[in-house]
């Protein structure tokens, strides 16, 4: 039984990673890639302060996006799981959440651009309400725009796993807590959140890996003015510097794995599932 799965994983997961790691030690001139075993790509990567700035930026995006998607996602899931009583309505409202996913990522992202622009809907509305006199420039092509797009794109990845674990919480536990005299906040803090941890963790892994691996959202929403690790890689690829792109990819992969490793220290997903 395990053999087909092993074969698929070998071919589509292990092999590409081995390739990337191998190529990361190669050398490149402008037009050719030379097989070698050389640490030059890594030396350049770790020797440039741009790398550290860009990695910091990537973590910043991931962290802020995580905070927002978690608070929004948790609230939505909580509402769906505990405030909507009928299963039908839960399903209807849950499906409603997925409607934006009927269009592509890129379209959902790009549709923010005319909305947030200097003469966009947001600015002209705020001006007509008299809230501001001058258009706000930081709405578009800024870190604000990048994070807004990320939150918009990835909140559902938080909602789904959290909602899923919440639905499995035995309602009698909550009743027992109430009978024992716990307040609403205490129930949330001591019963629901601990039992939802695996869902939160799965959502977190989704959001963090998606944000850390992204390059196109950052490019469009920052107007090419900010960089994250994904853009570093895509720039290298555009210039045919595959070895250097691979080295960056390897470092990113390790970073993401470390982050996930740390997160899994807090929650044992396997045990909780």
């Amino acid at each position: 039984m395990a053999l087909p799965i092993m074969a698929v994983l070998m071919f589509f997961l292990v092999l590409p990673i081995v390739m990337i790691v191998t190529v990361s030690f190669w050398q490149a001139t402008e037009f050719s890639i030379i097989p070698a075993f050389d640490f030059e790509n890594y030396e350049f990567l770790f020797g440039s302060n741009v790398t550290y700035r860009v990695f910091f930026n990537t973590f910043k995006y991931a962290f802020i996006t995580w905070v927002f998607t978690l608070s929004i996602g948790f609230t939505v899931a909580y509402f769906l799981a505990f405030h909507i009583r009928s299963l039908t309505w839960q399903i209807v409202l849950f499906l409603l959440c997925t409607i934006p996913f009927w269009t592509s990522n890129i379209i959902r992202m790009i549709s923010w651009i005319p909305f947030l622009g200097r003469n966009g809907i947001a600015n002209s509305t705020l001006i007509s309400w008299g809230v501001i006199d001058e258009p706000l420039d930081w709405l578009l092509f800024s870190d604000f725009a990048v994070i807004l797009a990320f939150v918009h794109l990835y909140t559902l990845f938080m909602v789904v796993p959290i909602f899923n674990t919440m639905m499995r919480i035995d309602k009698s536990l909550i009743e027992a807590a109430r009978d024992a005299g716990a307040s609403g906040t205490q129930i949330l803090w001591s019963v629901i959140i601990p039992l939802t941890k695996p869902g939160i963790m799965i959502g977190t892994i989704f959001v963090v890996t998606l944000v850390m691996g992204d390059f196109i959202t950052v490019r469009f929403m920052s107007g090419s003015q900010s960089a994250n690790v994904g853009r570093l890689i895509s720039n290298d690829i555009a210039l045919l510097a595959y070895p250097s792109a691979s080295a960056t990819a390897v470092v990113l992969l390790l970073t993401v794995l470390i982050v996930i490793g740390i997160m899994l220290r807090f929650v044992d997903i396997r045990k909780e599932l």
Binding site: N119, F141, S224
Partner: protein, 419 residues
């Protein structure tokens, strides 16, 4: 001609007679219909209209693939078997030619060779003109012979690229939002336009725009903008990084559409731009000017190169295509978009007098000027930004270029974007 005739003698007298009276191409007119040539290049000249017209006029099939400059360079350098015809820019040729993926072309087979403008032959538009800095097309336009791997500085009879299209680029502005005359490249970094300026994020072209700005600001005069030293690159990047951190730029653009949207939406009022992008903004009813500047233009040129693996009938077809290209129809099509043709005089026959006057001679339009797709671009009485061909191409300050320190420049460019 002679070659084909010799082949015909072997085939027999009748064919010889037909061959010499009807002209060489007719001999293989039948099997040429089966030929398919694969062309790739940047979007500017990879037009489906051209492919359709080739089918109609020459009978063979031309498959077009449009890519961005970086991908074009990559493909020409690394996948020589993926194309028959490379439609590339001269600075790309400088990078690609040494790989041996293209073959030299015999100018004696190019019918209109003698009519190609001087820029592509000896570098001079008129005998008096000085040659601009950067990778001027004639410096990478010729090689020593059929198997040449280097470049020569004279008309050797073997061309690396047959020139097809070129233009003089400058800054695009929104006159309605600026409200005063713009005369210098330095205006791009003028704090007056803080948060409303943009530059293109294609390193090899962007660095040249930067150099034009730095010189115009009086910060530094480059011995050769097209071939900077590491110190010069650092200095240029420092000035622009400071400006970026002070919030001078609204965004950077990489694709044609992005530049159009930035300008049309008013996010940006001054930016590096390409000629048809101006046209696209105008056709949305938004005022936009391709502003001629005192320091001159940054120019670029493109041409057609043949894959090294091309031979036999396919190569004959490719030569036929090149001759057709320079014959005027494509030239007229491109000139009506605001580009220039390598053999302007043949294009004249494919343009109305009004169009020729407006686009080439810089005369006021006598009637509405429309693009090849039918959008109105100018009304009667309007004059082209920058004036005539001589005025525009005569004021070129530098050509798009590849520097010796290209890799260093690219790394610095990435730092600038991340800064």
């Amino acid at each position: 001609m002679t070659k084909v005739s010799r082949r015909n003698i072997l085939k027999g007298g009748a064919a010889f007679a037909a061959g010499s009276t009807l002209g060489a191409p007719m001999i293989w007119a039948q099997n040429i219909k089966d030929v398919t040539l694969r062309q790739f290049g940047t979007g500017v000249s990879n037009l489906n209209d051209v492919a359709n017209k080739v089918k109609e006029d020459l009978g063979f099939t031309l498959e077009m693939t449009a890519l961005d400059s970086d991908s074009v360079t990559q493909r020409a350098a690394t996948q020589p078997n993926s194309f028959d015809i490379a439609d590339i820019e001269y600075w790309i040729c400088k990078k690609v030619w040494p790989t041996g993926n293209l073959q030299a072309m015999d100018t004696s087979k190019i019918k209109n060779y003698d009519k190609i403008v001087g820029i592509f032959r000896n570098g001079k538009l008129t005998p008096e003109s000085t040659i601009a800095q950067g990778t001027a097309p004639h410096t990478v336009g010729f090689t020593e012979g059929p198997d040449g791997k280097g470049f020569v500085d004279n008309e050797s009879g073997w061309m690396t690229l047959i020139p097809t299209i070129y233009n003089a680029d400058t800054l695009g502005i929104r006159p309605d939002l600026i409200g005063r005359p713009i005369k210098n490249w330095s205006e791009l970094l003028n704090p007056e336009f803080k948060g409303k300026a943009s530059i293109l994020d294609i390193s090899s072209i962007g660095i040249m725009d930067m150099a034009m700005v730095v010189e115009s600001m009086g910060e530094y005069t480059y011995p050769d903008k097209g071939n900077m030293t590491r110190e010069e690159i650092d200095l240029t990047m420092k000035i622009f990084t400071e400006a970026k951190q002070n919030g001078q730029f609204r965004a950077f653009w990489k694709s044609f559409d992005e530049s159009v949207n930035l300008m049309a939406s008013g996010e940006v009022v001054i930016q590096s731009m390409w000629s048809p992008a101006i046209t696209a903004v105008k056709s949305k009813g938004v005022e936009c000017v391709y502003q001629p500047l005192e320091e001159g233009y940054r120019s670029w040129g493109g041409g057609i190169g043949l894959s090294a693996s091309l031979s036999g009938l396919e190569r004959d077809a490719a030569y036929e295509y090149i001759n057709w290209y320079l014959d005027g129809w494509v030239g007229g099509y491109l000139m009506r978009q605001g580009y220039y043709s390598a053999v302007p005089e043949t294009s004249k026959a494919h343009m109305t007098e009004n169009e020729w006057g407006y686009w080439f001679e810089g005369k006021p339009a006598t009637d509405t000027i429309t693009s090849p797709t039918g959008d109105a671009l100018a009304q009667a009485g309007e004059v082209r930004d920058g004036g005539s061909f001589q005025d525009r191409m005569g004021a070129v300050a530098c050509w798009n270029a590849v520097m010796d320190e290209n890799q260093y420049m690219v790394r610095k460019w990435n730092e600038f974007i991340a800064a």
